[in-house]
Symmetry: C2
Subunit: 183 residues, 2 copies
DNA sequence: TCGCACATGTAACGCGTTACATGATTAC
DNA sequence: GTAATCATGTAACGCGTTACATGTGCGA
């Protein structure tokens, strides 16, 4: 009835790259997939516990967990299989909800300058985002030059870069549009 | 604690354009904001009922509702004020979850051809989307040449067009990338 | 010794989707 | 008459966010 939990697959995918702790997964997601995938703590840890119970991941013995009680998780054969099965399915497209766009769609209810300010703020945020993405790109290429994952990581990064550039260009032209409209 | 219900504002916004029934709102959302905002039936009608109870919208008397029991809703002064207040707040950005991108991020677990097929299918879907957007653009300009809303509707449309074009261009280059990688 | 980053979790809350349910009107 | 579209709702379900709770180890 309701949608299937995708958090588990994000976790399995991350563990297919390397064994990690919950904290590592969280950090990796924030660093590398933040542009197209987010997870919240409240999902991550329960999902890890469930995957363990289902035998899709195993937690290294407490001994090997290093300091600070870090729990290192590994994919099991079943886990790898479950990931594979999911990866091969066609991706479902989530419903989109972009509040900025919705507010602009109703922009006739606001002053033109209000809308311009909104766009200008967005442009500013996009510039920062773009910069981050470009830095991450360099960073990845330097740190994992030989990883089999690198081409795919760069692919998803370029998606972010392209989209952010397109949004920026859109912002510029729309601000100009509004300025001209005022006169 | 949890997030505020945004459906109500989408409804108020739609009613700021013209009085509408629930069915009309639904149809309008599907036609015009589908690219950045979606609503499901299960949210729409209860939200309308709640807005009525709160006095933010009123339902025209049953008499005036036309055939088929259609209920025509109008904004009240309070409703207009509530919309205004919300519009002026900075937009919150929803967390993004793009399953296609996540699957590509883990693409090293699949064959190169599988990833290529995935991208090719996406490219096909994007072309259709782009076409729809361009048609809608013409349609809007023809049907509402003098509406104060038109500039903002076109703005949100151009966002969709720009983004879709960027995604398409990205698709093309990535398919080429993968082809070259295979050799 | 004080604060920050590391590290793992739980509970409340309600949003949003899906599926179900129902009936009228129009067009062929 | 019968299918499609118009039209309005309800109920189940669980996903995902936010806030809370707790403790460790390292560096300044």
């Amino acid at each position: 009835m309701a949608k299937e939990n995708k958090t588990q697959y994000a976790i399995l995918g991350m563990l297919s790259i390397a064994p990690m702790s919950g904290y590592d997964i969280r950090a990796t997601i924030k660093k590398s997939t933040a542009n197209f995938w987010a997870e919240s703590d409240g999902q991550l840890y329960p999902a890890l516990a469930m995957l363990t119970k289902q035998g899709l991941v195993v937690c290294a013995a407490a001994k090997d967990c290093g300091a600070r009680g870090k729990k290192l998780y590994c994919l099991t054969q079943q886990g790898r299989q479950a990931l594979q099965t999911w990866l091969e399915l066609p991706p479902e497209n989530q419903s989109i909800r972009n509040e900025l766009l919705l507010k602009l769609f109703f922009g006739a209810n606001l002053s033109s300058s209000m809308n311009q300010e909104r766009l200008a703020l967005y442009r500013y945020q996009l510039k920062i985002q773009l910069n981050d993405l470009l830095m991450t790109q360099q960073d990845l290429q330097r740190r994992f030059p030989d990883s089999t994952h690198l081409p795919y990581w760069l692919m998803s990064l370029r998606y972010g870069i392209r989209l952010t550039e397109a949004k920026l260009a859109w912002c510029e032209t729309e601000i100009e549009h509004l300025k001209r409209l005022e006169q």
